[in-house]
Symmetry: D3
Subunit: 292 residues, 6 copies
């Protein structure tokens, strides 16, 4: 019992499930239940609050939360002055960043950003869009959209700025992308005041290490095989160099065991080659964490 207590804001909504899974992979047990905005966690130094991602940076800046995870987009939208501990490259269902795109109807006369002069733009991120327009020197009406933004062109507005992951919702609504104004990954943040505290900084750094170790292990696997000594150097040459393979002697002195960590997608090309080169008993297994 350290006495340390950090209130952490995690994103309610579309990133919620992926964030919970990340914490579980990182070794925490989080007890979620219906309507629970305050899920229990098995770490006495943490108090979890589920908060809309749009608001987390603001509450961290104001000190109502000590730290949190929220997108780079919403930190910028809130113009929040917070410390970024690390970026966490995950997303709702892929490992790609979310994109904020400027889109118009496929038949719209708008073809480049400067065509927006004097037009109406709807978005959930009004400040982001104003900053963007400012940067490119265009003046337009930007209005807050309460949702279903992609169905508003062309009848209610001329253009929208909205999040897209796969572009399928855009296509379904006959939209055309004019520009990408931001790519955003979740950020692990805290207030400057919290970061200045030695104990809290150590705790947050350790959490960052665990969260990133869990992300490292995504799409990576362990590969283990037995190799005759005479084939070893050839086989080591084709193994990816993500980390030095572990070579250990076997009881039968002619053979060694080789174990390595690599991208699961690399196994596709590697497996047939290893077999050809005399590796035996090749097995692949999953990993929870890789701590660099």
């Amino acid at each position: 019992m350290s006495g340390l207590k950090l209130r952490i804001g995690l994103p309610k909504g579309s990133l919620e499930e992926a964030t919970m899974e990340l914490f579980e992979k990182a070794g925490y047990i989080v007890a979620r239940s219906n309507r629970a905005y305050r899920p229990a966690i098995d770490d006495d130094e943490l108090e979890v609050r589920l908060v809309r991602p749009q608001e987390i940076a603001r509450y961290v800046e104001q000190g109502f939360l000590d730290c949190g995870i929220t997108g780079k987009d919403w930190i910028l939208e809130n113009n929040a002055d917070v410390h970024v501990i690390c970026e966490l490259k995950y997303n709702k269902s892929t490992s790609l960043p979310v994109k904020w795109v400027l889109a118009v109807h496929e038949n719209s006369p708008v073809h480049k950003p400067s065509d927006l002069q004097g037009k109406w733009i709807a978005t959930e991120a009004v400040n982001l869009v104003k900053q963007y327009l400012n940067k490119i020197g265009v003046e337009a009406h930007v209005e807050f959209s309460w949702g279903a933004t992609e169905v508003k062109v062309p009848e209610l507005v001329d253009a929208i700025v909205d999040i897209t992951e796969t572009g399928s919702s855009l296509r379904a609504n006959h939209l055309r992308i004019v520009d990408t104004i931001l790519e955003s990954f979740p950020q692990f943040i805290c207030s400057h005041k919290v970061w200045a505290d030695q104990d809290k900084r150590r705790k947050l750094s350790s959490m960052a290490l665990l969260l990133q170790s869990a992300l490292n292990a995504r799409n990576k696997v362990g590969l283990k095989m037995n190799v005759q000594k005479e084939n070893l150097s050839a086989i080591l040459k084709i193994l990816p160099s993500l980390r030095n393979p572990t070579v250990s002697p076997l009881a039968d002195g002619q053979w060694v065991a080789v174990e390595t960590i690599l991208d699961e997608s690399k196994v596709r090309d590697l497996a047939p080659k290893l077999k050809e080169m005399g590796a035996e008993g090749i097995i692949e297994y999953s990993l929870n964490k890789i701590i660099y």
Copy 2:
């Protein structure tokens, strides 16, 4: 084919189902399907758009929609200058207005509105709250809430202003109501320009009549019975006077048929009395519309 065409905004979201049912009761067939923001309607003079209720008044004022149905609350929040054709007294599941209440944690030191001086208030209706604070002469920080407003006290804010229908969500979150700042029913609105057009005004008035006729028939029933002439005047006295009962002669000259329209809840008390007073063959049936 009149050539007339009105684009009408109906509320997407919590009022959507009730609004669609109201239109069906009023005699329209609206073809809804998944993801459809532009449902078909069997009236060539109408084009339906499903829009967030928060935005309908704004788009009607700007002329992007000709008319729409949205809450009085959101008209005020947008400070929209529109024409109110009529109020429609319905709601998601009851016939009661939604209430915007000022609430604090049950242990909060705030007991009356003036205790809010200098505090933080979260709400989805920032302008409504600022107007209210202005009226009562209190200064406080009002911040926009992206949702889950009721879980924010007391950690993230001191007070909230939020919608409540039954109060059960407030109780579950240990909130205490300090004041009711607005009661709101849906309004059927159009722009001043549309209302000034004679043909459009006639169309909108006729729609208002149908929508209200359908609302009139809610919770009302028809009651029909046979009565001996000698009992007629006594029975007529106890029938509610919502509308004059229809008395028609029967083939058997000693009897008349009496038919009336009344609140369904009145039948509870009336039925035993009518039976006692000699009414026979009492039946109750449902109504679609009552056109006053």
Copy 3:
């Protein structure tokens, strides 16, 4: 505001939906929501409690509830001394009573009740079964079953006594019915003390009238037609005599309007005949209540 207040127990579980619909048909608005054991009702003299049907009679007898609706089966199982205001002939999905049947495996040597001597019987209604065995002079082990009773034969017990509506669950489990020990409909009950109170008795009688009026209207319809005077007597002869048809003169002196109430299933045979006999403009409509 009469000051009268009756706490009524309605059955939680399989009869819940049908009971709520019956109350709605009878003119009450009951506001149900998730986990609500205390739904609101629009009658200030009533307080609804949802209680397991197995327990309602016991709580009414003990005075913890003033009145309630529960099956005849559970009144007998509890051996509860309560006043039955009226029987209500409805069920989960049909208008048939539930049946408690004694069943064995299709290959069991038990073919008649007396074959059960010394056997093991599982049931949720231990007292009902003991009363039955007593009546027929058979001694057997009766044990309480916590559920899934029908899968227990023949491995865990020799026979079961369980509810069946359609017999399909019995067939699916390869059971054979040996005897029906009880047929049961819901009963509207109160304690003797409550019934002795003049005001409460009037209230309960009036509720009984409404509930039965709503049940009366199930599967019944109104039929209305125009008939030439010369055909009237022939047509009146073939109309079912559930209640005297209402005959009213029409403006056109040659014709009368005839209106009657009948079982919907009778319309099948009647409609072609009425058409043949010269009835015109025949329409059929639904009823909410029929108050005899």
Copy 4:
């Protein structure tokens, strides 16, 4: 108990729900439950079988079913020699027929049916399509599609023939309609042998009358109002002539009651006019059946 017994095939699948509702409207109680291909019906002369609509006509022709309801499309596809008792103008969710359309990818070089010469066409109704191609004198490869037909162009086939109700699935798959090859409503059919039997023919005719009476009442309503005698003739003139309105005298000799049946959609225009012309107490109610 007439001894008569007809085995009727009703369509399993997309028309199932609408067909069951039609039977209920027609006065039958059909007890459906999970996986039940043999639902109970409250008419001792009928035995219901749920059968794929594609197969009903075939089984009726072969005599394994006595009668059934299935689409005109599948009767033609099976080239079945059956007696059509009547057409029933209903559908899954509208009152419009299903359409079988010939469609190609929006970028396809096929623009008219004759462009299909030598191409590949996938469809669930191979015979229908061959009959169509024969009629227009085009030769093409027609292959049976096991489903998901609309995603097969252009990669797997050049064109498809498929059912469409709203065209939205076609649009979503970027298809263009080249021709409509058939419009189809459900048909009430029996074998010629069954129709030749006097008793069975009477039964089937009576069922046809009930089913059509229920369809007649769809989208129709009853309208009732009180009118002063001096306004009567003017009001009667504007009432639609679907059926003569019923005019009945009221106790108050100056007034009459007028009751009529009309399309619900007509009420929209009529209601304001009736009010203007002095009609009072106008109410609208629903109908179950209209028997012409």
Copy 5:
């Protein structure tokens, strides 16, 4: 094929899913399907029956089941004389025991068990409660509750004894805990007669070993790293001593591989330290079983 056959009762209901997962972790394949009370298992010596946990101990005692898994609570409630092979520390969703608590309304005058003298208590475990009351020398009315026990205070009873895992249902119903009367984990049991049989005892012991091996692996992980020989002893000192780490030489004579098993939650603190102390290539992986 040993000829051995044991009928095992597994708990139907809230523990079902967790029990099935435990068996899968232990290496069995259990084929569950809808309504299946007799799921297939890939072990010819076992026959699975799903039975209510309340009844398993009783049926094991009577010999209708050979062995089973059920809570200590229900063994005591049934006062069943069975052999406990081992305790299995799992639960529906956590690794904590279920608790039977005595609870009253938060405003109740009852503050300690002895305040219950003469009161009414509802519970699903009547015998457990009577044994408890007996032990503490209090007399009260204990009645069987068919469910929804927590909503019965204070209107229907004075106190309840019910299961709680997180206490959230108690809080939601405004209950206060007065005492905990039992903590209970599932037990693997058999009859004394079965245990006396040498072959069956060997089979059951082996099953117990597998089930406990699977439980051992819950919340434990494997950790593997490469360490320079000079750092080895320091690193070994901080590794938890759950089991001796495996140290194996690597081809590169300066390094050894270290592998250990530890609580996943320990990794949080350990990972940053190991990194600091020069461990490289640290990976974490999951385990199915740990056989002590």
Copy 6:
């Protein structure tokens, strides 16, 4: 970027989920979403199409697909001339083949295949059945069944040929199996032309290796333990010989680490023995792939 591009057809429907999981196990990421017949895959040389299994062989033969996975049954039904790269022994939920069985009603006079002479048989695989009848020299009417085949006997047809996995649907419909006409596993196929292309053949062989490696790992586990040198030979003797165990020296010269791969079901018997023979720190872990 090799420029190679293969269009692969995967089975839509009952095998879809299992096939996707197999690809994921094999190291591919397949992005499925609603209505997606063209899911993205993270391999630039592949283009996935979801196609009904009944049609895949036909489209591969015609060249519209390059390769695909479909059952042996549908290859035979289509009489498709394709190259089988390898058989893949998986299924919807088990590792058993699907069986096509000839079944009749339990009371049918048909007891052996030859009793079918002149009878009607319904099936979804008309050609399969005709081939079978031909082989056994029986003539019968075989008609295509659009579904729900198992409910057609005995009223609509005399016998059916349908797929069964567990036989439970047959039992529920009171069917009796007369013969098994085919057992079928999925096959990985391509056209002869594709197989003749050296690059494509290499790609397809490599995919086959990965898919089979993933299947190899099903129901297999890794087992790891520490063993004193003196016990080693005894322990090695009882380890299954699926693959030579890896024996590696430990730092403590008296002990070695033994690691092996075996059927998970074998662990049941082995674990107690290993413990008895002095193995320590026995752990079991899962595998993704085993590459022979």
